[in-house]
């Protein structure tokens, strides 16, 4: 083969090498990720329900009296319906194709809502993040983690395996899981009831006067951090595990059944009630750094 012919041949292959991926991209683009945006005018205390089986759900509060829904779909094999019924906005992801790969059924939702919105969120896998929403909230997931920041109201969270984190949450918190880890950081809640079977629980927040904190697991660690100025009545029991305590407690006046390793007592004037229970996990009551 001549040199010219070789060069021409190389040129043709190079051209084809550039053109073919380009053509492929053009043909794939319409069916791949797309963005849909919807707006809904709402009155005070709206309710937003979100059902998204697969993908991220991110909810943020803003100052407008609107609910804005931004949907990023992986493919057209998943549809997200959003409709308004009075002061309620329902957002529902659904599978269009009968057979599709899980990644093709993914839809990520970004939702902006007024601060006083009540939220009901269901997400199987992906993740849920909510920030600055002060209304009541109910979150239900299977494997998805739940991350709340600066929320208030009555929060009920249920996961099967998803982790839960609550940063600067107030109000009332009830969370249950089987294997999810829980973290409560800078909490200002007056009622916390948290139960996970296999997960760890970290509580590093304020013990509010007259508040109740009940943390329970089967295994894993329960760690509670306290400051010298905190005031709580403590009941800590691990049936098969250890209880490590750095708080100077006054012995409790009440009779408590004694099984396993237990610790009962009052720190300062005992204004909050703290109940820590584990089956065979370790309970650590440690001074806050």
């Amino acid at each position: 083969m001549s040199t010219l012919a070789t060069l021409r041949s190389q040129y043709h292959w190079k051209t084809a090498g550039l053109l073919v991926p380009g053509l492929l991209l053009c043909s794939v683009a319409p069916a791949s990720a797309d963005r849909i945006e919807r707006h809904f005018k709402v009155a005070a205390h709206p309710v937003v329900t979100i059902h998204n089986p697969n993908g991220l759900v991110t909810v943020r509060a803003w100052t407008k009296p609107d609910v804005m829904v931004v949907v990023q779909r992986a493919t057209s094999q998943v549809e997200v319906d959003a409709e308004q019924n009075g002061n309620r906005v329902d957002i529902q992801g659904r599978q269009v194709a009968d057979t599709a790969a899980p990644d093709d059924l993914r839809a990520d939702l970004e939702i902006s809502v007024p601060q006083d919105t009540e939220l009901q969120i269901h997400n199987d896998s992906g993740g849920v993040t909510v920030s600055n929403v002060l209304g009541d909230m109910n979150v239900d997931t299977i494997a998805a983690a739940v991350d709340l920041q600066d929320t208030a109201g009555y929060l009920t969270v249920k996961t099967v395996g998803g982790a839960f984190q609550c940063l600067r949450c107030a109000g009332r918190v009830e969370v249950t899981s089987i294997s999810g880890n829980f973290k409560f950081i800078d909490l200002h809640s007056v009622y916390v009831r948290a139960q996970t079977s296999e997960g760890n629980i970290l509580f590093n927040g304020s013990f509010m006067p007259n508040a109740t904190y009940v943390l329970k697991n089967y295994s894993g660690a329960i760690e509670v951090r306290f400051s010298p100025g905190d005031s709580f009545d403590l009941m800590a029991t691990s049936l098969k595990g250890k209880v490590n305590n750095e708080a100077k407690l006054e012995p409790s006046m009440h009779h408590h059944p004694k099984f396993g390793n237990a610790l009962f007592g009052t720190f300062n004037s005992g204004r909050a009630r703290v109940e820590l229970n584990s089956f065979d996990g370790t309970i650590n009551i440690l001074k806050r750094d």
Partner: protein
């Protein structure tokens, strides 16, 4: 310090739930986190039962007949023929009469567990060790059989999302493991209220998880 103890309060629990609240009981409840927790739990059971009542039609009569017979057999309630059609008398009877077939498959198991926890787990401390053991075994034996049936029906179920399928099955295995651990613990210390509570909690979790799995199967999600 008051001589009114938890056992005294437990004897008045039914009256308390019906609204008869003596000042001494109120005073005890203010000071006793344990009894307060029990009253909260019973309130939650009643609320849950009423919520179910709002959902669908009547439960299978055999469930309530069997539940009542079991509680009567354990001496936790007086044996009496169930009268589902008549007006309820006590707060417990009111719950039974008002509760229809739960919307979720297996949800009635939760009621069974909840009632078992409330009565077997907390109200009869004076019973001896063997009584505890047989009481616990009676309650959990029935539960175990019912949950096993439920588990068999969902074992072959496959979700379209493998992450979800794996999570559900992994967590079911975790709960089964805890049930085994708790049963061992109850066998070792039959009078340990905490061990029994953990056992019933584990059964409750399993019932809840199986109900969730069944519902997903039925919905084809």
């Amino acid at each position: 310090m008051s001589t009114y103890a938890c056992n005294d309060f437990l004897k008045q629990l039914e009256a308390w739930m019906e609204g008869e609240r003596s000042s001494v009981a109120q005073s005890h409840l203010r000071d006793c986190a344990h009894c307060r927790g029990l009253v909260e739990d019973m309130g939650a059971i009643r609320q849950a039962a009423l919520a179910w009542a709002a959902q669908e039609s009547d439960p299978p009569a055999r469930v309530w007949v069997s539940l009542r017979a079991q509680l009567a057999q354990e001496g936790l309630i007086r044996g009496e023929e169930p009268r589902l059609a008549k007006a309820p008398r006590g707060w417990l009877a009111a719950i039974f009469a008002g509760v229809p077939r739960p919307a979720l498959a297996g949800a009635y198991l939760l009621a069974l567990i909840a009632v078992s926890v409330a009565f077997t787990g907390r109200s009869a401390r004076e019973l001896n060790e063997s009584r505890w053991m047989s009481g616990t075994q009676n309650s959990t034996g029935l539960l175990n059989a019912q949950l096993q049936t439920e588990q068999n029906s969902v074992s072959g179920m496959v979700e379209s999302n493998p992450v979800v399928t794996a999570s559900l099955h992994d967590n079911l295995a975790i709960v089964d493991n805890y049930i085994a651990l708790c049963e061992k613990s109850v066998r070792e210390e039959p009078e340990s209220e905490i061990a029994r509570d953990y056992l019933y909690d584990a059964y409750q979790q399993k019932a809840s998880l199986l109900a969730q799995m069944t519902e997903r199967g039925m919905n084809g999600r």
